[in-house]
């Protein structure tokens, strides 16, 4: 959902996007076929099967992982370190291009109880996550085997509202949805969600097309905490978003490709993901600003999950836990520049920066360790909200309320 946009920084972008589109089409066709072929009875897995999932499971020495593109350095440093430490080979696939289409791909196979080709996968907290849990397609984790997680995971990343007690998932990385603006065109400081509604920026404001993302901004503008929002709140938020659209201030609703228009001045300010702005500034030398609006912003988390068809669940657990070693988490963060679930990584990053001294890498590390986009402070966290938590039964209604805005 978020990360492929980083691809704007290099030619992989266009390839990535193409591949994503292809996958979407393929996923839809596959899903439709599978659904129609099997008459589509009840798809839920027996929850009883979870009870003794771990009994008799053994390490296999290799595992297959589906992750997002550009979500680990091209040398796969962390996987090499994992191999050195545990002897387990990781077959790494950058196959998750978009949460919804990935779900469309794996759902028919999981409904049949077939191997999906991965033993571990990375998905954001969101509709697909909730559906996988509801359907019983992901296994509860054996926390007794995850000492690093217990020791090093930040309090905020333990026991989240979308997965109480980390029963099914542990975070991989998080990001913030806030407002980014280009000071080349905007000659005042942007601080508030209301700025996105300001008609002085007619035709120059970007909003996200994702229902969960855009809903939060409408709700927060109305002063509603997304976690406690009701259907009436959603409709009131949609009304505000409709006013915004009809006032002509919105240029378009973006899936993930807002960076380039923001850089070239087609957009002056836009909803944006923190990591993308950070990378664009680092790699392209742009001076884009990112703010968490005073009314609040959104925090989302990509999570590691084990499908119940996994052939190497023990290996997957080991890898999950390995990624919580502070040194490993720091190395990963240095490349992906999203928020690590391991607060201790900030300390390690500062140590590395000191050790590197004045070199280019040393400065980059020191900057990153200071950046509130990668290591948000207490005050930042207080302003951040997760997506509206929805029961799978409510998702259709919720989506259609907001898609009526973004798909007119």
């Amino acid at each position: 959902m978020k990360h492929p946009s980083r691809a704007h920084l290099d030619p992989a972008l266009l390839r990535g996007l193409t591949r994503r589109r292809t996958l979407q089409a393929g996923g839809a066709a596959a899903a439709a076929l599978a659904l129609s072929a099997c008459g589509v009875g009840g798809q839920q897995r027996d929850p009883q099967a979870d009870e003794d999932f771990w009994a008799g499971k053994e390490e296999t020495g290799s595992l297959r992982w589906a992750n997002w593109p550009l979500y680990m350095d091209p040398d796969r440093t962390q996987l090499t370190q994992f191999k050195e430490s545990t002897g387990i080979d990781v077959d790494y696939h950058e196959d998750v291009q978009e949460a919804a289409s990935f779900f469309g791909q794996i759902q028919p196979k999981l409904a049949n109880g077939d191997d999906i080709g991965y033993d571990l996968m990375t998905l954001p907290n969101g509709f697909e996550f909730a559906k996988l849990v509801e359907l019983g397609y992901v296994v509860p984790l054996d926390h007794a085997r995850m000492p690093n997680f217990a020791d090093y995971a930040g309090d905020l990343y333990k026991n989240s509202a979308y997965d109480p007690g980390n029963r099914y998932s542990v975070p991989y990385a998080s990001g913030v949805t806030g407002i980014a603006y280009n000071p080349e065109f905007v000659d005042r400081e942007i601080t508030s969600l209301a700025d996105l509604w300001d008609t002085a920026f007619e035709g120059k404001v970007g909003m996200f097309a994702d229902p969960q993302e855009i809903a939060n901004f409408g709700l927060l503008l109305n002063g509603v905490n997304p976690a406690e929002s009701t259907k009436e709140d959603w409709e009131a938020a949609a009304e505000r978003l409709r006013e915004q659209r009809e006032s002509g201030v919105v240029r378009a609703y973006y899936d993930q490709d807002f960076i380039q228009p923001l850089t070239n001045g087609d957009l002056w300010l836009t909803m944006a993901w923190s990591g993308d702005i950070y990378q664009q500034n680092m790699e392209e030398g742009t001076d884009l600003r990112f703010v968490i609006p005073e009314e609040g912003g959104t925090i989302w988390t990509d999570n590691l999950l084990i499908p119940f068809t996994s052939k190497a669940p023990i290996d997957a657990l080991k890898l999950m836990d390995f990624l919580y070693e502070p040194e490993i988490a720091t190395g990963l963060t240095e490349y992906i520049s999203y928020i690590p679930p391991v607060p201790h990584a900030q300390e390690v990053m500062n140590e590395w920066a000191d050790a590197e001294g004045d070199s280019e890498r040393g400065e980059a590390l020191a900057d990153m360790a200071k950046s509130p986009l990668v290591f948000p402070g207490e005050g930042d966290y207080q302003k951040l909200h997760y997506y509206v938590a929805l029961e799978p039964g409510e998702q259709d209604e919720f989506s259609s309320i907001f898609q009526a805005i973004t798909q007119s």
Partner: protein, 284 residues
């Protein structure tokens, strides 16, 4: 003797298998899916719920009509641009015909999405085209083309232009030049010769071109999502998000059939108007 009678059937068998596997089976599956109720969690039950179609049309009629309108506009642009191109290559390009055809096809060696995205760079507010026009005062400073209806229609026309040019070219290229000479011998001026001889002969090519551009442009979703603004959603975008974001397969399938039905009706009406014999000529 026996062999001779079965041979044609054996020859046509692969085509039948292909059609059955990749057209009939999916279409039947989609049709049954469009008549189900339920969701991904509890499964979809075959309830023969016709209400899906009512919901689909009543919720998305605007996007459906818009898609047909955009498709029609893009097709007209393709005719306006493509016909002269085909004409010129067929009659004026001399020995270099294949070179020019290759030039028309050349952009299509690049991926569809990539080509569409490159229009974002072309049409950016301060980009190559508008930036230049604005700086020499030929366009107002606040002119915006990207993220608008014209951008989507032009993107569609650009992406499907060869599908208009090639069939028209194929017909014109086969035309006997002596027919034009005969027209001139009978005192037809250039315009009259074109209107009364060349144009009627080329109509089957135009007909085929219209089919090959109108259908895919009406159902396209890439151009609207890459080049569109806040009021440019096409029905393809809706189908895509119903399938992949909402996992609402019955509604997605219903919209698909509504669109297919409208296109079929439109095409049959159009074929009637142009005359079916001419339609048959296309592939002779």
């Amino acid at each position: 003797m026996r062999n001779r009678t079965t041979t044609p059937y054996v020859l046509v068998l692969p085509a039948w298998i292909w059609l059955a596997l990749f057209f009939v089976v999916p279409i039947a599956g989609m049709l049954s899916l469009s008549l189900t109720t339920g969701d991904v969690i509890t499964g979809f039950q075959q309830t023969f719920e016709v209400g899906n179609y009512v919901t689909a049309v009543s919720t998305y009629w605007e996007q459906i009509l818009r898609s047909l309108f955009y498709g029609a506009c893009a097709t007209l642009v393709c005719i306006a641009v493509g016909y002269p191109m085909a004409y010129w290559i067929a009659f004026r390009a001399g020995p270099h015909k294949s070179t020019y055809l290759l030039l028309i096809l050349l952009p299509f060696f690049v991926s569809f999405v990539l080509r569409t995205i490159s229009w974002r760079f072309l049409l950016a507010d301060n980009g190559v085209l508008l930036g230049t026009l604005k700086s020499i005062g030929l366009a107002p400073a606040d002119l915006q083309v990207l993220n608008s209806t014209p951008a989507v229609v032009l993107g569609l026309a650009y992406n499907f232009l060869p599908f208009m040019v090639l069939p028209i070219y194929a017909v014109l290229e086969r035309m006997d030049p002596r027919m034009v000479e005969a027209a001139h011998d009978l005192y037809a001026g250039r315009i009259q010769a074109f209107v009364r001889v060349i144009l009627p002969v080329s109509l089957p090519g135009v007909f085929a071109g219209v089919l090959m551009t109108f259908i895919p442009t009406s159902a396209d979703y890439v151009n609207a999502s890459v080049l569109g603004g806040t009021h440019n959603t096409m029905i393809g975008n809706v189908i895509q998000s119903q399938y992949l974001v909402n996992n609402n397969y019955p509604i997605a399938a219903s919209i698909t059939f509504v669109l297919m039905g409208l296109l079929l009706v439109g095409i049959f009406g159009y074929a009637r108007a142009l005359g079916t014999e001419r339609v048959m000529e296309v592939h002779t």
